[in-house]
């Protein structure tokens, strides 16, 4: 129950902030491969491993008020930060 959400928050707070959605996807993918307890399912996608579930959980965490996605000025990169 929300354990998977908590794992993501933990990872992001450990990193401070993560700049770029793609970077976050790849970090969680590698961490999962290293046996960290992530359960999101990954698929091979345009830019390598990608998890729709992870995208959704981030969306939920933003909605719940735990995370914030901030677009850097004039850049395409979106920073994911703890609120």
């Amino acid at each position: 129950m929300f354990k998977d959400h908590a794992n993501i928050i933990n990872a992001i707070s450990t990193a401070g902030e993560i700049s770029g959605r793609k970077k976050l996807q790849k970090i969680v993918y590698i961490a999962k491969k290293l046996s960290f307890p992530f359960h999101e399912k990954f698929q091979f996608h345009f830019y390598g491993p990608y998890s729709e579930e992870l995208t959704l959980r981030i969306e939920e965490l933003c909605e719940m008020g735990y995370l914030n996605e901030v677009r850097e000025k004039k850049q395409a990169i979106i920073n994911i930060v703890i609120r």
């Binding site: 129950m1 969306e59 008020g65």
Partner: protein
């Protein structure tokens, strides 16, 4: 004659409620349909637990697989054939990949994979390249043919157009399941003009595009996805059945690990419990087998396993309330867990939050999302534009998604006042249940 080009003497047809007829001329396709791995899909329902909400939704993954095959067949034979961007030598590859794309699904895939940490796509790959009847047939086409089929399904094949036919925002997979699921659930959403969509599809090197004149058919298709999602796929009652199913599997696994002696020994589950499932074990698992165990486990000594199985088999599902996980709600949840324990109801099995991210997702999200290939419209002047920039309707609904969490609980147990009357009353008050 080479096997890859061999045609049946007479065309075979399957009657189909969605596409009217499914046409098979190729010997390879006919032979693949006859394999035991493909026939196994008859025993796995396309929509898992949805039949407990919509009683018509008993259609199998086999019927969906045939449907996807038929749509791809119509695209390549009726629309793409003869066009410069289409490579005719990729025809059979496309048809095989379409037919076999769901081959690795397990029983009630969603919960099953979550509990046992499996991935049906990996099993699809294994069935295609491993020692199976399917593999033998594909090998007769060519030595590297099984690998190619597996690559198309895994989306790693170099010919992106072929990949996009079975997995993209507007692919044969979605076109079939939307219509099929709408038909069998009986809902009035989910319909769109597929004939029109197919007619206006054009091959490009990397994917198919839709002629501008077909925009309204695409709008209808996107709308139907949107509506089917909320109306069928995300139905809270189906999710309740899914929650119970997940908990049954968790409980059985837990009991096995703690040395419990089952009255009905779960032979089919042992390798799953141990986390060392082989392809042979996996292929023996289907929904008939699973339901057999659930029924047998109604007679177990463990009260939780017994009760959960009785609930699933007899459709005595959990009720639910909306749950927004803010701090105060999280505190309420902790309080509820404590009270459940006091009332002698194990909250790990009987108080469950289900989130929107727990379910597969199917929304159209174009634009800035780097990770998704959007739908492209081909304008009359040859320009290619992203759909949501041209269509106000699609722009209005795409990516706008409500996140949703629900708290599931057994209302019947909480209303049973023969034990722990006062605690249960407190719980009901916290859940805002009427008496």
């Amino acid at each position: 004659m080479e096997y890859s080009g061999e045609k049946l003497q007479e065309e075979k047809v399957f009657k189909d409620p969605v596409h009217r007829y499914i046409h098979v001329r190729d010997r390879v396709i006919w032979d693949l349909i006859g394999t035991k791995e493909f026939q196994r899909l008859r025993r796995i329902k396309q929509l898992g637990t949805t039949y407990l909400t919509f009683h018509g939704a008993e259609h199998s993954r086999l019927s969906h697989s045939l449907g996807v095959y038929e749509i791809v067949r119509r695209i390549v034979d009726d629309v793409f054939e003869g066009r410069a961007e289409w490579k005719p030598e990729e025809r059979l590859l496309s048809l095989c990949a379409a037919l076999l794309h769901d081959l690795g699904h397990g029983p009630f895939s969603h919960s099953f994979e979550k509990v046992f940490d499996l991935d049906h796509e990996q099993f699809t790959q294994q069935i295609i390249v491993g020692d199976t009847e399917v593999n033998k047939i594909l090998l007769r086409v060519g030595r590297d043919f099984p690998k190619k089929v597996a690559e198309v399904i895994a989306k790693t094949y170099k010919g992106k157009l072929v990949v996009s036919l079975i997995s993209s925002q507007i692919d044969a997979d979605r076109m079939d399941y939307l219509q099929r699921d709408a038909y069998f659930t009986g809902v009035s959403y989910g319909h769109f003009d597929m004939e029109r969509l197919l007619r206006v599809m054009r091959p490009r090197e990397e994917h198919a595009v839709i002629k501008q004149s077909g925009m309204h058919a695409v709008e209808d298709y996107i709308m139907s996805r949107y509506q089917m999602y909320w109306q069928v796929y995300f139905h809270p009652v189906t999710r309740s059945a899914e929650v119970i199913l997940t908990k049954i599997l968790h409980r059985a696994k837990h009991l096995y690990e703690s040395g419990y002696e089952f009255a009905q020994e779960p032979h089919h589950f042992y390798s799953l419990f141990k986390g060392e499932v082989t392809l042979t074990d996996y292929l023996k698992m289907d929904e008939s087998v699973m339901l057999y165990y659930f029924e047998a486990w109604e007679g177990e000594n463990d009260s939780i396993l017994k009760d959960l199985c009785t609930r699933f088999v007899n459709r005595k599902l959990f009720k639910y309330v909306e749950f927004h996980p803010s701090n105060s709600q999280m505190n309420r949840l902790m309080e509820l867990r404590t009270l459940f324990k006091k009332a002698g109801i194990d909250p790990d099995y009987y108080l469950v939050v289900d989130s929107s991210s727990d379910l597969p997702y199917d929304f159209y999200r174009p634009g800035e999302e780097e990770e998704r290939l959007p739908i492209h419209l081909l304008k009359n002047n040859g320009e290619i534009r992203e759909l949501s920039r041209e269509s106000e309707i699609v722009d209005a609904i795409s990516g706008k998604r409500r996140t949703d969490h629900k708290l599931y609980y057994p209302a019947d147990l909480l209303r049973d006042e023969s034990t722990k009357k006062n605690i249960k009353k407190q719980i009901r008050k916290l859940l805002e249940l009427s008496d």
